[in-house]
């Protein structure tokens, strides 16, 4: 293992920070301070190696070998060029090209809530933004979240006033167009008391060369808010995608997340959910990877107060020589009685070279809780293949159908029909070409 570990070079991080002074100073002193703190944090950290417990399966040496530049000017895309990424139900859409807000490609079809970019809202909502921006996703010990915050200039912003229920999903579309570019997508969703909203966070690409997406997303749910968070990572095959998401759930709020990881050469998603009293969450995921891809998902569901409920189904479909990693931490803090938590993790290995490292991690500091977890790793069930063949379906078709069904169990949980259908189609195509 140590042979492949990189020597973290502060030079590399310095290179990544070199573009930072170009981030324009804000009129808001607190934002400048947030950034300078992050720069300082980065300077104390290094790029993690396999020797770091949190990164022991995910080797980032490839990332440190490419030279990356931040993108400050967006490539001009036409509406036509990005049309294929549109999601029919999501009439409200914020588009970021290489991390830069593209107002011409965006569409705001709501008026009782704020769906905008940070730069436009900063002056109007300074106090509220100061209270939340960068306050949920921690940068301490997290070099990538710190790098993102160091470059924080603009962001996708959704703010829902009390009791607003938004039917149509809101699409946050992050498009990568340039090679050797690092982008820092940033999202903040503030759902006030009793709000309901569905947010689709979608990472796509128009090119196949290497680039790096380093994203940070924060969800803040006030009491009784209900938020669906759908995350789709379909980056290019040579790209790197590292993302940190933090969701803070107030009393009796409900956060349901479905995360699909299909793209990128190397991807890492950290999802941290913190539950207050009576809050509920689900954190479902599907990683479907092939060739030499690596998809690493680390989740932490923190039951900080009593009566919280969490459900988690994480699945991996691994083919070729791909490598999936899942680390699912469930924390039940002292005093968080009557916590009810279920976690299951199932992996389908389609080839001999496919590989998975999976680790459930339960840390319970309390009695009177219900926490279950289960994990399976395996191939397709021969009895199931036989069932389909006994109906006249060929063996190949039977295997494709079962592989598809394995993934569909997660995709079915996406409450946006057209997105669900298009992802099902992608899985269907992938299963029939990979086998």
């Amino acid at each position: 293992m140590s042979a492949t570990a990189v020597q973290p070079s502060s030079g590399y991080l310095q290179d990544l920070l070199n573009g930072q002074p170009a981030v324009p100073a804000s009129k808001q002193a607190w934002l400048n301070k947030l950034r300078s703190n992050a720069v300082e944090t980065v300077s104390k950290l290094t790029i993690p190696t396999l020797r770091d417990e949190e990164w022991r399966f995910t080797d980032l040496s490839m990332l440190t070998k490419i030279s990356l530049q931040p993108a400050h000017t967006a490539i001009n895309l036409t509406a036509e060029e990005i049309k294929r990424f549109h999601i029919a139900e999501a009439t409200t859409r914020l588009v970021f090209v290489d991390g830069v807000y593209a107002p011409k490609l965006s569409n705001i079809a709501v008026n009782d809530i704020v769906v905008s970019n940070l730069a436009a809202e900063l002056a109007k909502n300074s106090a509220l933004l100061q209270q939340h921006l960068g306050q949920h996703a921690t940068i301490n010990g997290n070099v990538f979240a710190a790098l993102n915050t160091a470059h924080l200039h603009d962001a996708a912003l959704i703010m829902l006033p009390r009791n607003t229920k938004v039917k149509a999903p809101i699409h946050l579309l992050f498009i990568a167009t340039q090679k050797d570019v690092v982008s820092y997508p940033r999202t903040l969703v503030l759902a006030d008391n009793g709000c309901e909203v569905t947010v689709i966070e979608d990472y796509v690409t128009l090119q196949d060369e290497a680039y790096f997406t380093n994203a940070v997303t924060e969800f803040v749910l006030a009491d009784h808010a209900r938020v669906h968070h759908i995350r789709v990572q379909r980056e290019g095959g040579k790209s790197f995608h590292i993302a940190n998401c933090a969701a803070t759930l107030s009393r009796s709020s409900n956060y349901q997340s479905v995360s699909i990881a299909m793209g990128a050469r190397i991807s890492r998603y950290n999802l941290n959910i913190k539950l207050a009293e009576g809050a509920e969450c689900s954190a479902d995921g599907l990683a479907m990877i092939a060739n030499r891809q690596l998809a690493d998902t680390h989740t932490c569901i923190d039951h900080a107060q009593p009566h919280g409920t969490s459900r988690q189904l994480h699945k991996c479909i691994v083919s070729g020589g791909a490598h999936a990693v899942f680390n699912g931490k469930i924390m039940v803090r002292r005093g968080a009685i009557k916590t009810d938590s279920e976690q299951s993790n199932h992996t389908l290995l389609l080839t001999d070279k496919a590989h998975v490292d999976t680790k459930p991690q339960l840390e319970i500091f309390n009695d009177d809780v219900k926490c279950t977890h289960g994990a399976t790793i395996g191939q397709l069930d021969n009895e199931e293949v036989f069932y389909l063949r006994s109906r006249g379906v060929s063996e190949d078709q039977a295997r494709n159908m079962l592989t598809y069904a394995f993934g569909a169990e997660v995709i079915e949980r996406i409450p946006v029909v057209s997105l669900k259908r298009s992802l099902e189609k992608t899985v269907m195509q992938q299963t029939s070409t990979q086998l």
């Binding site: 006994s390 006249g392 069904a405 569909a408």
Partner: protein, 264 residues
């Protein structure tokens, strides 16, 4: 029903099969003619479920000797899917669930696959919808059955009905029902049995594999066979099932052993 001059559908001669080196079927002999309904009974481990899987072409079973002719063709050289397309249907004891695959799409896929291989017309979704709804009436199935994923969240009874629905669509010449009565309450059993009875005709044949006599009061067999240790040790008419119900299997076994000693 037994018809005069009916053709032979299945002819099994001295069939020996094993799984992972353990012999399960030992010189199995069994003949089925069109129009007939057979019941294969026997205690657990007698090999009756294995026999049904062997006929359907389960790849885990190894055939060491013997022959199986299906409508005059060598069945053993066909793969499971080819047997299905040729007209063999196995209703499973435990049908699998396939989340994400819509039941109506699945039923249409299997139906059209069979039609294609029989040189018959395939149906588009609209045509199929009419066709399948008609068949569903036979099994008193609710309409939402079609919109759900295959067997997803179905009760035991619903799964078995879905199996018989597939039998109705595929119109096999040989249907093997493996423990179809298990897990059914009396109402579901009556519906399933009614469906099977409606599907039985002079051109097809049905083989029920069952542990209990219960199913046979609803689907009345022409022949009842008792299996033990991988072969049929006694055959008779429907009254044999009644006798097994009251007397158990031991006397059949004892009778067979005595007869074998005499023969030796």
């Amino acid at each position: 029903m037994i018809y005069p001059n009916s053709k032979t559908i299945l002819e099994v001669r001295n069939l020996c099969a094993s799984v992972e080196g353990t012999p399960i079927l030992k010189n199995m002999n069994f003949t089925v003619k069109s129009g007939e309904i057979h019941a294969i009974m026997g205690p657990n481990g007698s090999g009756k479920s294995t026999f049904s899987k062997v006929l359907a072409g389960h790849p885990d079973y190894e055939i060491s000797s013997g022959t199986v002719l299906f409508e005059g063709k060598n069945l053993l050289e066909l793969k499971a899917e080819e047997r299905a397309r040729a007209g063999i249907f196995l209703a499973f004891q435990y049908p699998i669930e396939i989340p994400g695959v819509n039941n109506s799409q699945f039923l249409r896929l299997t139906y059209n696959t069979a039609q294609l291989h029989r040189g018959k017309e395939e149906l588009d979704p609209l045509e199929f919808d009419d066709f399948v709804r008609d068949k569903m009436k036979l099994l008193e199935m609710r309409e939402d059955f079609l919109d759900r994923s295959v067997n997803g969240g179905f009760s035991g009874g619903e799964k078995k009905r879905n199996e018989i629905l597939q039998m109705a669509l595929l119109e096999p010449s040989l249907a093997i029902l493996d423990e179809t009565d298990s897990g059914l309450d009396i109402d579901a059993l009556r519906i399933v049995a009614h469906g099977v009875n409606q599907l039985a005709n002079k051109d097809n044949a049905i083989v029920m594999v069952t542990h209990y006599q219960r199913l046979l009061t609803y689907i009345v067999p022409d022949f009842v066979h008792v299996m033990e240790a991988g072969r049929i040790i006694k055959s008779g008419g429907k009254e044999l099932a009644m006798e097994l119900e009251t007397r158990g299997y031991d006397w059949v076994s004892a009778e067979y052993k005595a007869a074998s000693r005499v023969a030796a």
